[in-house]
């Protein structure tokens, strides 16, 4: 276990180009998984993290507040055309797609659901892959559908890094399995390993 934690990061980190952002997709079981993944990150963590969680379109979501209370990094809902700040977690607001513009600002859209979901993981991942190219890490966590699989493939096609939660360890394995099917080159890691992995890419302050 220990070795696996260090291996992918240290093998990749020095040789590859720096990472500018992390994108995360999760569905059923997301709150617990995100809390476990994000809470241990130190306040000094420098990378921005953009997150899509499938939620009921109920307009007011308390997910950002809940996570913010548990985390050292700032967690908030994204606003339209917001510049991305380091060390901040941005959640897609309920009922909006979250996209990354070519100038790396965030934008929102209420266009049709994708895979019955708005926000959709694919929409975030595909636009982030366009904006960040190889300087991006995509993470697929627990979930009961196949949103995110295509987006994860777009990330690796652009030269970015793909990580999928080990399916057996996920609350619901459908989303990780769907992602691995389209994107077999993804690293599979436990949440604990992911937290360590991500920290290796955080630039020094």
């Amino acid at each position: 276990m220990r070795e696996e934690v260090n291996e992918p990061g240290s093998a990749l980190a020095p040789s590859r180009m720096p990472v500018e952002a992390i994108v995360v997709g999760a569905s059923t079981g997301a709150l617990e998984a995100l809390a476990e993944l994000l809470a241990p990150l130190p306040a000094s963590f420098r990378l921005p993290i953009l997150v899509v969680v499938h939620l009921s379109p109920d307009r007011k979501s308390i997910l950002a507040e809940l996570l913010d209370a548990k985390c050292n990094v700032d967690v908030r809902e994204a606003d339209d055309k917001e510049p991305i700040e380091p060390g901040t977690v941005y959640l897609a607001p309920p009922d909006y797609h979250l996209l990354v513009e070519p100038d790396k600002r965030l934008s929102l859209s209420s266009e049709e659901p994708v895979h019955y979901s708005r926000p959709s993981v694919d929409v975030l991942f595909e636009t982030a892959a366009e904006a960040f190219g190889p300087r991006l890490i995509g993470v697929i966590l627990t979930g009961a559908n196949d949103d995110g699989a295509r987006g994860l493939k777009a990330i690796t096609s652009a030269g970015g890094i793909a990580i999928v939660q080990t399916p057996e360890l996920a609350h619901v394995s459908t989303m990780p399995l769907a992602a691995l099917k389209i994107c077999p080159e993804a690293h599979t890691l436990s949440l604990e390993e992911m937290t360590a992995f991500l920290q290796e890419f955080s630039p020094p302050q």
Binding site: L99, R105, E130
Partner: protein, 275 residues
């Protein structure tokens, strides 16, 4: 294909649309426009944006449908009920002090936001003194707005939204159900004008007391957002109100100083005195 080729094709396509049909999408949020044109490309069976451009230029039936892809039409009556509750509770008391009122719903789509405000203003006793302008660039949507007919299966959500907005009557008072459709009462349109107006290229057309422009600015880049917000600023009377979508704000606008937060949580702003 090389990304730069595709980017070039995309800007040529937008240029072609502007040249031939006078709709300018060049200042729209690129990430979203790309996605939407990608869907359109599939729909028209084109491999590339260049092929789509060829179709758009030489087949006059293509553009109206393409416009449907380029303009997002998702809406609801009393969408975000809390917004309408704030209009009702905080803005209406101010509006009541004016003998006559004008309201501009910019980017009104198929009219949902206009009917919501028309119902709200009737409930609050302001209807007789108010004129509502609903504007959009999508002609099909404006026709639907004019007709005031919505699928009956959307009504439960509309009813729930209306109730949550603090509605003082029953939504069923305002429509009749027939053949799977809800037909909204013509009298709601008596003091409403729907017209074609673009926030990209057209000018201010009236002095108004309230601008409601929700979920339109998110499709614009910042420069275009600033143009639209500038129009709202020039159109609003002193101390007039500007309501935006739940995730839109003046935070990044160069006109921010001309407004003060009125209900920050709900993105309702008030135009400042002189300046």
């Amino acid at each position: 294909m090389a990304k730069t080729t595709e980017t070039l094709e995309l800007s040529l396509l937008l240029e072609a649309i502007r040249g031939q049909y006078h709709y300018d999408f060049r200042g729209y949020s690129l990430a979203s426009i790309k996605r939407r044109l990608g869907l359109a490309r599939e729909r028209f069976g084109c491999q590339t944006y260049s092929q789509l451009q060829d179709r758009v230029l030489h087949d006059a039936t293509v553009f109206p449908e393409l416009l449907g892809f380029l303009t997002v039409q998702v809406s609801e009556l009393f969408r975000d009920p809390e917004y309408f509750r704030m209009i009702r509770e905080l803005v209406v008391p101010h509006l009541k002090t004016y003998p006559s009122l004008k309201v501009w719903v910019a980017g009104c789509g198929a009219g949902e936001e206009v009917y919501s405000l028309a119902i709200l203003f009737r409930e609050e006793g302001l209807e007789e003194r108010t004129l509502i302008y609903g504007t959009d660039i999508n002609g099909e949507a404006l026709k639907k707005a004019e007709a005031g007919i919505y699928d009956l299966d959307r009504i439960p959500l509309f009813t729930e939204n209306h109730r949550k907005s603090g509605g003082k009557s029953s939504l069923s008072d305002y429509y009749t159900a027939a053949y799977g459709a809800a037909v909204f009462d013509k009298s709601l349109r008596k003091r409403t004008v729907f017209s074609d107006h673009s926030l990209v290229s057209d000018a201010v057309f009236a002095e108004v007391h309230l601008v409601s422009c929700r979920n339109v600015l998110i499709y614009f880049d910042r420069e275009l957002q600033d143009r639209a917000i500038g129009l709202f600023k020039d159109s609003l009377s002193r101390k007039g109100f500007l309501g935006l979508g739940a995730k839109e704000s003046l935070r990044f606008s160069r006109h921010a100083d001309a407004f003060s937060d009125f209900s920050a949580g709900m993105r309702i702003y008030q135009k400042q005195g002189l300046a």
